[in-house]
Amino acid sequence: MIQRFEDFHPAFTFFYYMGVILLLMMFQHPTILVIALLIILMIHFVEDRFQNLKRWSLLIILSGVLIILLNPVFNQRGRIVLFIIGDHYITLEAVLNGSVTALSIMAIISIFVSYNEVMTPNKLLFLFSKLLPQFAVLLMLTLRFIPLMRRRLEEISAVQYSKGIAVTDGNWRKKVKNGLLYIQVLVTYSLEEAIQTADSMNAREYGKGERTTYDHFRFKKIDAVAFLWVGFLLIYCVIGRLYGFGVLTIYPMMDPIPLTGMEWCLAIGMFIFIAFPLVVKGGGRLKWRILISKM
């Protein structure tokens, strides 16, 4: 069978995403972040031709632009003045500072888009059930109740609307009051009904003994290998960063922007880390080719 990135054990997937976010926060260097962002965009392209990213693109671009623009507004420090508006200095340092932050934020939000796709609620719930079983039950119940509450709210608003109590009527105060009346009916009704939910849990022996969890996901050898590989890369990057590589010092004195040889070595480690889903995909393709050619 061909391993897809989504098929890895949730613990690994979670580790990968947290690792990427950590790296994106640690390496505040424009060159590194640009390449990292490109890799993340590539992951999205390979995954679904930017289908998901599109929905978030406005937020990503907006926050990026805002940060780049706003930084020089607040920040006049720096030696290299690009231009002056009124008595306000726009410095290269400030612009660079803003760009680094903007890149980092944009990359982080983009990787979250992929995270939301791959780390389904089920996987997260599974992880919680291993570490915090009681909290996992609470979270599961909440996730089960949310669509139910939505439907009940629809019913409540239909009924109350037909009685002449609507959130579209009257002044602001009246609207707000009617809106919360809906919520109040929802609370009263749902808490009343939920006693039966608790009874149904008790009738199925909840809280009587030690609870186990159904393993929806199995930790396979390939997960262990992936963990080792990615873990090694992460440690490599963190150690490199601790030695001071991979960050552009802007204040008080700006470093030269181009990366040094050592920094490239470090950055490549980070790129390989981030590109893990691409590696898996490429590996899968290769394996598929080989399988076909053998037939």
Partner: protein
């Protein structure tokens, strides 16, 4: 030694120590029996069931003893692990967002290993034939599927006894039948002991070993269905007797010469038994050889009884209505060019399967949802040109779940609130309200919390709140759902009374018998349109499946008998 043994049990809730919920009750159930409990809401059925299940046992004072296989269930730390419990509401019992999680929930609680869980779930899914549901989100399931899921989750715990508290009350007839079939299979093929509280005896009569009729915390009658039905018939619980046996018993009551029930007679429980009894009667005495030729006469007789309404003005006109929830998905349209006319003072019942759009149509008529295309005209004025308060005064809408109607925490406050909202908090308004409460028989409920009322009571109270604002049209969404037969009869009386006062009533229902008996016109909804529409007599006449018990009983003998009253009239005329 009985398998389950209630020995002189008296149980009272702390809120009401003077009125015990169970009073000196004794009941024996043998292993493998199928026992049905029935009686009004509040007669103690649920209390009795719950006392058997340790984990959800109500708090209160208990006397006497309850034993399972000779072991008392009342001692500390007694176990009722072998007992499974299914509740009434399909929705409330679900705890997980995905079917597989739901099934695993109980097994996780008892600490099974994943392998064991997998085996048990595989077996269960196979038994229920639910492979394709395993990864569905629970909130996308229908009510019937949810209840099946609840049953499966309980069965996974491998119980010996299954307790069910009105498990089909919230289901439509098709799902209810499926659910009951499953219970019957479990009882018959796996020897599971079943104790079930149920109002609708129609479906369970043929399979139950014992019917227990309860009243005020005591057992009124108990015994095999055929033994007990004549006794129930003679008691005040008459409405509980299902159509076929009650037809038989009615005929029996009339006891006219040559009109007795016949020599070999035992109460027929099913259509099959009923028909064979009819055949016997016909073959035994030629008097009863109905020929189809006589049916014309019957029709005219029916028409005499329920005259076609004089053509009055239309009050609701629906023209070519289109509606879909998601504007981008026209393929999921609920209503596809629906048209409908309702006349002033008419009682109209809308029938149709689950999800056929009955409720949606009601919401469109009372302006809660807006159609994509088409028109709704109320009192010769386009709905769009009605102000919302005006419309609310014109149309009273009772939702499927009347609990969602209430904002205040007592019935009295809710009524007061309504009066104030409509500027009726005058002396005359209050006088009218109290008259209204009296006529509905609910003046004693004003200080109660709406949620503490029984299904029948809360409906009456919601109706009272609706009627305070004197609407001309009443829209009722499945008002008969989950009602016990007595409350159903009361509802019918109320509706007929309102109709006689000039109200136009439109209701949706799955209850064929109710529609046949009380409606002026029935409409069938299918594929987003009303496909057939006429008076009950001709509406059900041609139907094969979707029809009343009496029609099924008489099919082939005579085509035009739809309700009990008509059937009796024929027998009486003979």
């Amino acid at each position: 030694m009985a398998y389950i043994n209630f020995k002189n049990v008296t149980f009272s809730y702390p809120e009401n120590p003077a009125m015990p919920a169970l009073q000196d009750l004794s009941l024996q159930v043998e292993k493998g029996q199928f026992v049905v409990l029935c009686g009004h809401s509040g007669c103690g059925k649920s209390t009795l069931l719950r006392l058997l299940k340790q984990e959800i046992k109500p708090h209160g004072a208990i006397l006497g003893d309850i034993q399972l296989e000779g072991q008392s269930l009342l001692v500390e730390n007694s176990s009722s692990k072998g007992i499974g419990y299914v509740f009434q509401d399909p929705e409330n019992q679900v705890v997980a967002d995905e079917v597989l999680h739901e099934l695993a929930f109980g097994l996780e609680n008892v600490g099974l290993s994943t392998n064991e869980m997998r085996n048990r779930i595989a077996e269960m899914v196979n038994f229920m034939g639910a492979e394709n549901l395993l990864h569905r989100k629970t909130h996308t399931l229908s009510g019937g599927q949810k209840q099946q899921l609840n049953l499966a989750s309980v069965l996974l715990m491998q119980p010996n006894v299954l307790l069910l508290d009105e498990p089909t009350a919230q289901l439509d007839p098709v799902s209810a039948r499926e659910f009951l079939d499953m219970i019957v299979r479990l009882n018959g093929e796996f020897g599971l002991t079943v104790i079930m509280a149920e109002h609708r005896l129609e479906e369970v009569l043929a399979v139950a070993d014992k019917i227990v009729m309860m009243e005020k915390g005591q057992i009124r009658l108990e015994g095999r269905p055929k033994e007990i039905l004549p006794k129930v018939w003679d008691s005040s619980e008459k409405p509980y007797v299902p159509t076929i046996p009650s037809f038989y018993l009615k005929v029996f009551d009339q006891g006219q010469e040559g009109c007795g029930v016949g020599a070999s007679s035992e109460v027929p429980l099913t259509v099959k038994e009923g028909r064979s009894w009819l055949r016997e009667r016909r073959d035994g005495s030629p008097v009863y050889g109905y020929e189809s030729t006589e049916s014309t006469q019957l029709i005219s007789e029916h028409k005499l009884d329920k005259p076609e309404l004089p053509p009055s003005e239309p009050i609701i006109e629906v023209k070519n209505l289109f509606f879909q929830y998601d504007a981008r998905k026209p393929s999921e349209a609920i209503l596809k060019g629906l048209s409908l006319n309702l006349h002033k003072g008419e009682f109209y019942t809308l029938l149709g399967g689950n999800g056929s759009g009955k409720s949606t149509l009601m919401k469109l008529i009372c302006g809660v949802s807006k159609p994509q295309r088409g028109k709704v005209i109320i009192n010769k004025r386009d709905l769009k040109r009605w102000g919302r308060q005006e419309l609310a005064k014109m149309i009273g809408y009772l939702p499927q779940n009347p609990k969602l109607y209430f904002i205040q925490d007592t019935v009295g406050k809710e009524l007061q609130d309504t009066l104030e909202q409509w500027g009726l908090a005058t002396e005359s308004g209050e006088k009218r309200t109290s008259d209204l409460l009296n006529s509905l028989g609910i003046p004693h409920l004003t200080n109660k919390h709406p949620y503490d009322l029984s299904g029948g009571e809360i409906q009456k109270v919601a109706l009272a709140c609706l009627l305070v604002r004197q609407p001309q049209i009443l829209l009722l969404d499945e008002p008969t759902k989950g009602l016990d037969p007595v409350s159903k009869g009361q509802l019918a009386d109320i509706l007929l009374e309102l109709q006689s006062q000039g109200l136009t009533i439109m209701m949706t229902s799955h209850d064929v018998e109710f529609a046949a008996k009380y409606a002026d016109r029935c409409g069938m909804m299918f594929e987003g349109r009303i496909t057939s529409e006429s008076s009950p007599a001709s509406f059900f006449k041609g139907n094969f499946f979707y029809t009343t018990m009496i029609q099924r009983l008489f099919r082939g003998y005579t085509e035009d008998v739809v309700t009990m009253e008509e059937a009796i009239r024929i027998w009486g005329a003979r």
